[in-house]
Every structure is written in structure tokens, then in C-alpha cells.
């Protein structure tokens, strides 16, 4: 296993190297550079433009530029943004990255969970009304034109019903007198959510393991969960952050909803297919013969093994939603990685655009890596010995 992990890390690094190279040259292939926008400005003479170019290093040959970029990249230096001069690219990305990451991770986990549960249920009740209804609704959203769906969602929930904000990350009116910056609040919010998530996982893992958890350990688990959430909320209130956290959460709801709507059907149909195969397995029949309750047969026998190929879809849907991230963030004016990439590309801001794309790639590579490990955890038949190539 350890050998496998190390080998896989090596692969990830190699893939990343190739990816960055491709991205770098692709962006360089765009016509012009950042100084193009001064072209129409009569106050800036040609000589000044040339000087600017040499300051930014744009007058050197492409190969030399590339080599120095790669050297700096692997030392963790992504350069300075041209359009937001002199802000380092790293700082900009570190500000935007968590926002994108949290938004898409939430949406993906939500749509995966909904897809998994629905797929399981409709496969178990194949041919019934719920099967047809869920399939039709799911495919309708799955094939919807994404920006249009986003507009419709905004129109219904923000414009007509006025339940939720139209777009943006925060409500500026609320934050003018705020004692915190949005990033501080967001950082705290993410930490709190992570503590709750890990805490709940550990509580249930330790208290409810075994085939027959006692009623008492069930009560313990649920009360510990409630106490943990209460503690986190209490800390937020004490810090006076609760109202600001709520504001950010409110702004997250619509993009998450839209992403979930458009994505859940993929997992659902995959799960349905995979499950229709496993319900025919002998061990599912054996489980029914054992007199296990219907629910147990469905969840522990049919769905548990059907889950394995679906895990791949979690990674793939993460990939597809990340690449669609630019659209989402533009539609909802969400100041994240996608929007940054969009504006940077328009402004010929190579360092920022390359940096943003590089992080999208790193995201995906890590996701694939996690999926491989997850596979081994979920399926006892898979053992990574390291000798067998991959």
C-alpha cells in the first residue's frame, strides 16, 4: 500500500509538470500581451511600452520565460499579477481558492448524496412511478443549458420570492461596519464546518461500529453530535460572527442549489445502473433468504457493492463542475478561482491565469488520488501491492 501511494504521488507530480507546460504555452499562444491595453493611450509612448515589457520579462524568448517560470513554480513562486500589479499571484489565489473549493465541494457532496440515495431507491423499485419520475426530472436538469438554469433559479428565488440574495459573496451593506474582513469570517466558518464534519465522523465511527450498536451508544452518538454543533455555534456567537456567517451561507445557497440540480442525475443514473446489476447477484438473493429486512438487503447488500463504481463519478463530477466553475462563478458573481481565471485571461494576465489553471489541475489530480485510495478502503478485494504496475 505504501509503495503504491508513493508511486502514485510520483505520477501525480509528473502529470502536473506536463499539465503546467501545456497550460503555459496555451496561454502564451493568445495574441498580444498586457501592454496591448496601453496601445490606444496616446500618453504612453512606444518606448515606455517597451520598457514595461522588459520589466515584466516579456521581451525574453519564450523558452527562457518558460524555464524560469517552471523553476519558480516548483519553488512555490507564481509571480506577480500583471493586472493587479504588484499583488503576488499566490496571495490572490489563496484568497479565492477556499471560496471555490468550499462552494464546489458542498455542491458535489450534496449532489452525490442525493444521486446515490435516489439511484438506490429507484433501482430497488424499478419500473414503478418513482423510477420514471426521478429519471425524467433528473435527465431534464442534467441536459438543461446551465446558464439558463442559473438565471431561472435566480429569477424564482431571488427576484420573485426574494428569499435569497441575487448574487455576490456577501451583502456589502451589512459588512461596512463589520469588525472582521470577509476572509476572516469565511476562514472561521470553514474551520467550524470541518470540525463538525470530522467530529461527527469520529463519533459515529467509534460509537456505532459493530453489527449491533446498543441503544445507549446510539443515544451517546446523537447527543455528542448535538453538543459538538452547539459548541461550534456558541463559539461563533461569542466571537460575534454568527450574523456574518449566516450572510455568507445565504449567498452560497443558490449556486449550490443550481449545481446540485444540474449534477445529481449523473450519479443517480450511474447508481441505478450499477445497482440493477448487483440486485441480480446471488448474495442479494441469499440475503433475502436469510430473512434480513428489505432495507438491510437494499442498503448493506445491493447498494453497498453498487457504490464502488459510483465513487469514480464523484471524482468525475468534481472535475466537470470545476471546469464549469467559471460559468457558475460568473453567473452568481462569486469571487472565486473561476471568475479570477476569466478576468485574468481577458486581461492577458499570464501569471494569474496560469496560476489559476494550475490550481484547477492540482485540485483534480488530488481528487483522483483520493478516489484511488477510497476505492481500496471501500472494496476489500482491491489491494495495492505496488508490484502490479500501477
Amino acid at each position: 500500500m505504501r509503495r503504491y501511494v508513493f508511486g502514485r504521488v510520483g505520477q501525480v507530480i509528473l502529470t502536473l509538470l506536463i499539465y503546467i507546460t501545456l497550460v503555459y504555452f496555451l496561454l502564451q499562444a493568445m495574441p498580444g500581451d498586457i501592454t496591448m491595453m496601453y496601445l490606444s493611450n496616446p500618453k504612453i509612448p512606444q518606448a515606455a511600452r517597451e520598457e514595461l515589457r522588459s520589466q515584466l520579462g516579456l521581451d525574453q524568448s519564450l523558452f527562457i520565460q518558460y524555464v524560469s517560470y517552471m523553476k519558480n513554480f516548483f519553488r512555490g513562486e507564481l509571480g506577480v499579477s500583471f493586472s493587479q500589479y504588484p499583488k503576488p499571484v499566490w496571495d490572490i489565489l489563496m484568497e479565492k481558492l477556499p471560496r471555490t473549493f468550499v462552494l464546489f465541494l458542498t455542491a458535489n457532496i450534496l449532489s452525490f448524496y442525493i444521486g446515490f440515495v435516489l439511484g438506490k431507491v429507484i433501482a430497488w423499485r424499478r419500473g414503478k412511478i418513482i423510477d420514471h419520475a426521478a429519471t425524467v426530472v433528473g435527465i431534464t436538469f442534467w441536459t438543461a443549458f446551465y446558464p439558463l438554469l442559473a438565471l431561472v433559479v435566480i429569477w424564482i428565488f431571488a427576484y420573485n420570492l426574494k428569499w435569497l440574495p441575487l448574487n455576490q459573496f456577501i451583502d456589502p451593506r451589512l459588512w461596512t461596519a463589520a469588525p472582521f474582513t470577509a476572509n476572516q469570517v469565511f476562514g472561521n466558518m470553514v474551520c467550524g464546518a470541518a470540525i463538525v464534519a470530522i467530529g461527527i465522523f469520529l463519533i459515529f465511527f467509534y460509537l456505532l461500529r459493530g453489527l449491533k450498536p446498543s441503544r445507549r451508544s446510539r443515544v451517546y452518538a446523537w447527543s455528542a453530535t448535538a453538543a459538538l454543533i452547539a459548541a461550534v455555534v456558541f463559539v461563533a456567537v461569542r466571537k460575534g460572527m454568527l450574523i456574518y456567517i449566516w450572510d455568507i451561507t445565504r449567498h452560497m445557497i443558490l449556486p449550490v442549489l443550481t449545481l446540485t440540480l444540474i449534477n445529481f442525475a449523473g450519479t443517480m443514473l450511474l447508481m441505478r445502473d450499477s445497482m440493477l446489476e448487483t440486485v441480480q447477484e446471488d448474495y442479494v438473493l441469499a440475503a433475502r433468504a436469510k430473512g434480513l429486512p428489505d432495507r438491510v438487503v437494499r442498503d448493506r447488500y445491493a447498494a453497498r457493492t453498487a457504490l464502488l463504481p459510483t465513487v469514480t463519478s464523484l471524482v468525475l463530477s468534481l472535475a466537470s463542475s470545476m471546469s464549469g466553475g467559471m460559468v457558475t462563478e460568473t453567473m452568481f458573481s462569486w469571487p472565486g478561482l473561476g471568475q479570477t481565471l476569466f478576468t485574468a485571461a481577458l486581461a492577458n494576465d499570464y501569471p494569474l491565469a496560469t496560476g489559476a489553471l494550475a490550481f484547477t489541475g492540482i485540485f483534480l489530480l488530488i481528487a483522483h488520488f483520493i478516489a484511488d485510495i477510497l476505492y481500496a478502503v471501500l472494496d476489500p478485494r482491491i489491494t495495492y501491492t505496488g508490484q502490479s504496475g500501477i
Binding site: 449491533k212 448474495y283 433468504a289 429486512p293
Partner: protein
């Protein structure tokens, strides 16, 4: 002796696109406590369908046309889903045909057995269940430390033993063994058969043993039922049926098997194939392949009746015991099964023609 299980005219059909498949047709028998019944027949003759209908685990397209399954005096098909669920495994357990695949690949084998115990005996603690599985593992001959292993880490024979241990977990009063040893080599098969017999005698459990292998059935059953195309053709004490087979099908099935220890004789083959159960032949379902068949066999269905104590038969022209012996000798002598079989047919006809005609006449009236 107490009757544990009683099938009364059980008739079950499968609905398919091509029509109704008559998988089980008017099967009746009863099984006493502690007795073992062997069901033998070619593939696709409805043996497994009977097993599944005893567990009420039939696929959705199956339909019980008529008949009853009485288990301990209770009609299984009158029970609610929840009641039948609680009865499964607790009272009737099953050793599956594909033992290799009847274990869930993602849970350890021990846990799958513990799960069955905990489901049916909620008052049992997990530790008690674990202890019980340990002793079950010893009983079937798997080291107890293999409990925590996954099915893919077991060999075929071990999986088979584990499945047997699982079937015994709730101490059921009836075990249905559906070809439990078909996938194993003969040495392991023999060992497992002996183990099953030992365990069965120890805890006085009834068993229905399903196989296409006559020799296996002969080894493990008190009573033998011979099935063909969804119907029982002959049923009786194993000694009677195997020593004096009355139905031509039973006879052919027995001599279609090679004997290692006995005299060398050519195998009797049964010409043709089992019929399509969408439209089974009229009259006796075996008649197109039967060398003893007469005209009436094609027209009138033979009646299921008791010919001796506990020996049931459905045949117009049953083989007389005297006729069997020369036939077997002839097979050995001429070395031509077909000729031998047809050679005896005329004899048989002469012997049985009278009774057969009588039946036919009464049937058509």
C-alpha cells in the same frame, strides 16, 4: 412421525414474453421431521423453482396458480411479508447452488453469519453470536480465526463450508440444499456430503437435497423424488426407488451414470432434450423421450398415485421389477444401450399393455 412440510398440488408458472412457463405442475409430497428428501432430475426441470417457492423467494414474474405449501401446518402463502421474512432462515434455511457467489464480497464472512443470528434472535448479544459462529466454524471444519476474513480470501471448498455454517446458524428445522457441491471436486464433495449428513443426524434436522447427480442423492437421502419437466414422476424410499425403479425416467437416469466400482457397462443415454415448458407435451411429459411410451401416454396424463407404502408414481407403463434385471444384463452384454432399451420395450408392452389400455379408456371417458 410428524409431518414438517407438505406440498399440495403446488403449481407455479413464470410469466415471460413468450407466454407462461409451467415450471412446477401439480407437485405433492410431504416430509417428516428429521427426514431427508432428495430431488433429482435434469437441469431446468423445476428443482430450484421448488426450493425457491418453499422459501417464498420467487421472482416477480412467478405466479402461484394453485396448491399450498404447508410448513408445520401453516400455509406459507397465507403469511404476510413480515411473517415470512421472520420465518426464513429461522425455520427454513438454504444452502445455495452458487455458494461461491452467495457471500457478500465486502463484508467479512463471520459478520455475515452473525448478522443472520442477530436479525432472528435480537436478544442475543454480539459476543454470544460471535461465539456461536466460532463453534459453527469448528463444526464445518474452518479454523475460527478465518471469521474476520473476506470471501475472496477463502477457497471454493471453504466458501461452501462457510455457507453451510451460515445455513445452520439459526438452527432451522429444514434446510434446503440446492446443488451445494456441484462446483466442487469429488473429494471435497464427498467430505462435505458426509459432514452435512453428520450434522443433520446430530441435530435432527429435515433436509431437502437437490441435485442432478443420482449418486449424490443416493448417498444423502431417505426419500427420493424424481422430477421431470416440472412434474414429479416418482417418489419413494431411497431403497425402493433405486433398487426397483418403476418409472422409465428414473430407470434411465440411474443408468445414465457411470459406476466406478461395479461392472463396466455402457451408459444408457436418454435421447432428446427436456421439453420446452412454454408448451409441454400433452399426456405424460416424458413420453416423447420414453422408450416404453404407448399411444395413450401421448394423450392422457398419468395419475399420481401410491403404489406401495410411501412409494408414489405417475406412469401408465411402470417397469415391472422382473423386466429390469435382464435389461441391465443385456446392456452390459451387447454394449448398445439404445438397442438394449428398445429391445425390452416390446417385452414391457406385453406385460403392461392390459393395465395401460384400461387406464386410457377410463381417462378418455
Amino acid at each position: 412421525m410428524d409431518t414438517l412440510l407438505r406440498l399440495e398440488d403446488l403449481t407455479m408458472h413464470y410469466k415471460t414474453k413468450a407466454g407462461w412457463v409451467q415450471a412446477i405442475d401439480g407437485v405433492s409430497f410431504s416430509l417428516n421431521k428429521g427426514q431427508s428428501l432428495g430431488l433429482v432430475g435434469e437441469s431446468g426441470c423445476g428443482k430450484t423453482s421448488i426450493a425457491m417457492s418453499l422459501m417464498r423467494l420467487l421472482p416477480n414474474n412467478a405466479k402461484l396458480v394453485r396448491g399450498r405449501v404447508l410448513f408445520g401446518g401453516q400455509d406459507l402463502y397465507a403469511l404476510s411479508d413480515e411473517e415470512i421474512r421472520k420465518l426464513r432462515w429461522k425455520k427454513i434455511a438454504m444452502i445455495f447452488q452458487a455458494a461461491m457467489n452467495s457471500l457478500n464480497p465486502v463484508y467479512s464472512v463471520g459478520n455475515q453469519i452473525i448478522e443472520a443470528i442477530l436479525t432472528h434472535e435480537p436478544e442475543t448479544s454480539e459476543e454470544e453470536a460471535r461465539e456461536r459462529v466460532k463453534s459453527l466454524f469448528e463444526l464445518v471444519g474452518i479454523p475460527a480465526e478465518r471469521m474476520g476474513h473476506y470471501p475472496h480470501e477463502y477457497s471454493g471448498g471453504m466458501k461452501q463450508r462457510a455457507v453451510i455454517a451460515m445455513a445452520l446458524a439459526c438452527r432451522p428445522s429444514l434446510i434446503i440444499a440446492d446443488e451445494p457441491t456441484t462446483a466442487l471436486d469429488v473429494i471435497v464433495q464427498d467430505k462435505i456430503l458426509r459432514e452435512i449428513e453428520d450434522i443433520r443426524c446430530k441435530i435432527n434436522m429435515s433436509m431437502i437435497y437437490i441435485s442432478h447427480d443420482v449418486s449424490v442423492i443416493a448417498e444423502v437421502s431417505d426419500v427420493v423424488g424424481v422430477m421431470y419437466a416440472g412434474k414429479l414422476l416418482e417418489l419413494g424410499p431411497a431403497d425402493d426407488v433405486f433398487k426397483k425403479p418403476r418409472n422409465p425416467y428414473t430407470y434411465s437416469l440411474m443408468y445414465a451414470y457411470p459406476s466406478i466400482l461395479g461392472e463396466k457397462h455402457d451408459l444408457v443415454t436418454i435421447p432428446g432434450e427436456p421439453p420446452n415448458l412454454l408448451a409441454p407435451p400433452a399426456g405424460c411429459r416424458f413420453h416423447p423421450r420414453c422408450d416404453w411410451a404407448t399411444k395413450e401416454c401421448a394423450k392422457v396424463e398419468p395419475v399420481w398415485h401410491e403404489i406401495a407404502n410411501g412409494h408414489y408414481l405417475a406412469c401408465h407403463n411402470p417397469i415391472r421389477t422382473e423386466a429390469v434385471k435382464p435389461c441391465v444384463e443385456q446392456v452390459a452384454a451387447t454394449g448398445n444401450a439404445q438397442v438394449a432399451a428398445t429391445g425390452t420395450v416390446t417385452e414391457m408392452h406385453q406385460v403392461t399393455a392390459k393395465g395401460g389400455d384400461g387406464n386410457g379408456a377410463s381417462g378418455s371417458n
